[in-house]
Symmetry: C2
């Protein structure tokens, strides 16, 4: 069965997209087949994997017209990684989904046929930075949630919000199987603030926090302009090494479930 | 007349909240009276100005129950800066506003009485990182939009999206007076990527880009844990000096309109 992983944090700029494209590339290199679902109207995961966002070829049509998602799956700059692209119109889908009867399960309905085909080992959803309807749809459809987090104070304040939302989605019955896959610390630079934040997050969330910490490196910022994950663009950079280690830790833990 | 300034960019983590709390503090030190409107359910501007988010005292009640905003204006850790706080429930307001007849002008309706009282020189709106209904409401109510932008590739890709949205809000008649106040480059560190991005943004947006560039400094990340803008927490830091210079440039330009 395909595992559906939502990569989510309502705090903006914490490394959700960077984690999606690099995790996808690393686990693909370990022999998994991966489908990325770009649920962010900014379409950063789409361009970060070398795909031109094209109006009419995105999740938007499938969500609103309940079309077949298979028609919008395209290849990317990374072998064994496919994507359902995003486009700006996706922002408009929020209003349309809000007006549906069961507005929490719009995404699940279009994903089910893909999951049943069992073509992909992992379906990884890049979530927008919001607490809105697209994010709730992703949590309602996912098996688990990966939460990237900057080593910053505002990001730490927001952690209880996303974990609270996951809890509510699970206990309300919207998605009883939903669990937290883990918390990944990103953009680490050696400062007292970063060390304080990591210490507090580890003391509060314990084993949910991955051992791997992703360092800050300008190479991560350069990679998207080449349409490549940083593990492909600059494989010997510190940030790429971080994501290689994280990919392995992710797969080792996934075996344990 | 109070000037309503929306600080907005759908790209996450570009320094919207940090710019709002520091601009508010700097122009208050220049003798202006300022009201901050925290439109982000994360409530970062609220805690960044030393205010505890409190359920029931926020924009949410006013937006959904059309109550008087005056009842939810509170003081902050900075003299002459007041705030209408946010709370997590504000995320729920999106669905409720989507169902109203004129879903673009919900915020304008509750702001109008405050603007007419003419107590505040500036009303500064901290926007969430989204293209959703709260953001559109802010653009529909604002006189102008300040766009903070990280010196990064993804942030550059997103600039045409926010400027496109501003154009649509103006030309559709939703807010014919709306203009771009300016583009502020933030979190600058001296890399080839940052210099490339600044050069491209300047060549495309010309004079709309402020001369002042805000440098990256860990002091900016430390300040919110003390409930203070960095200009109050570490006034001689490079990032505080950046915001002092920006506040002056902002006021000089505002005179020109
Ligand atoms: N380890 C890193 N070191 C340096 N820069 C990074 C790193 N990871 C990500 N970045 C850069 O930081 C910015 C934010 O990262 P990213 O866009 O992945 O975050 P996000 O959470 O997806 O943002 P949003 O909330 O807008 O969706 C991007 O410009 C990205 O290139
Ligand atoms: N000049 C700076 N130097 C270093 N860190 C900064 C700077 N400006 C902001 N930060 C930090 O970067 C993070 C993102 O900034 P901020 O929260 O202000 O962005 P935002 O655009 O409001 O994010 P969101 O999209 O989530 O609303 C915060 O942790 C903040 O403390
Ligand atoms: Mg993203
Ligand atoms: Mg913010």
């Amino acid at each position: 069965m395909s595992h559906v992983l939502a990569v989510s944090n309502q705090k903006g700029g914490v490394g959700k997209t960077t984690t999606v494209v690099n995790l996808a590339a690393v686990i693909a290199a370990h022999g998994k087949t991966v489908l990325v679902l770009d649920l962010d109207p900014q379409a950063n995961a789409t361009s970060g994997l070398g795909v031109e966002p094209k109006s009419g070829v995105s999740l938007y049509n499938a969500l609103v017209d309940l079309e077949n998602l298979n028609d919008v799956i395209v290849g990317t700059s990374v072998e064994n990684v496919n994507i359902i692209p995003s486009e700006v119109d996706l922002a408009g889908a929020e209003v349309e989904i809000a007006r549906m009867d069961d507005h929490l399960h719009g995404l699940q309905k279009v994903l089910d046929p893909i999951i049943d085909q069992n073509v992909f080992d992992y379906i990884i959803i890049d979530c927008p930075p919001s607490l809105g309807i697209l994010m709730s749809n992703a949590l309602a459809a996912a098996d688990s949630v990966l939460i990237p987090m900057q080593c910053e104070y505002y990001a730490m304040e927001g952690l209880s919000v996303i974990t609270g939302l996951v809890e509510r989605i699970r206990t309300s019955g919207a998605n009883p199987k939903l669990r937290i896959e883990g918390v990944l610390m990103t953009m680490y630079s050696h400062t007292r603030l970063a060390d304080d934040v990591i210490e507090q997050v580890r003391s509060y969330y314990g084993d949910a926090v991955y051992d791997t910490i992703i360092p800050r490196s300008v190479r991560a910022g350069e990679a998207p302009s080449f349409g490549l994950p940083v593990v492909a663009y600059a494989p010997s950079s510190t940030v790429a090494e971080g994501y290689f280690a994280f990919g392995k830790e992710f797969l080792d833990r996934a075996k344990a479930w």
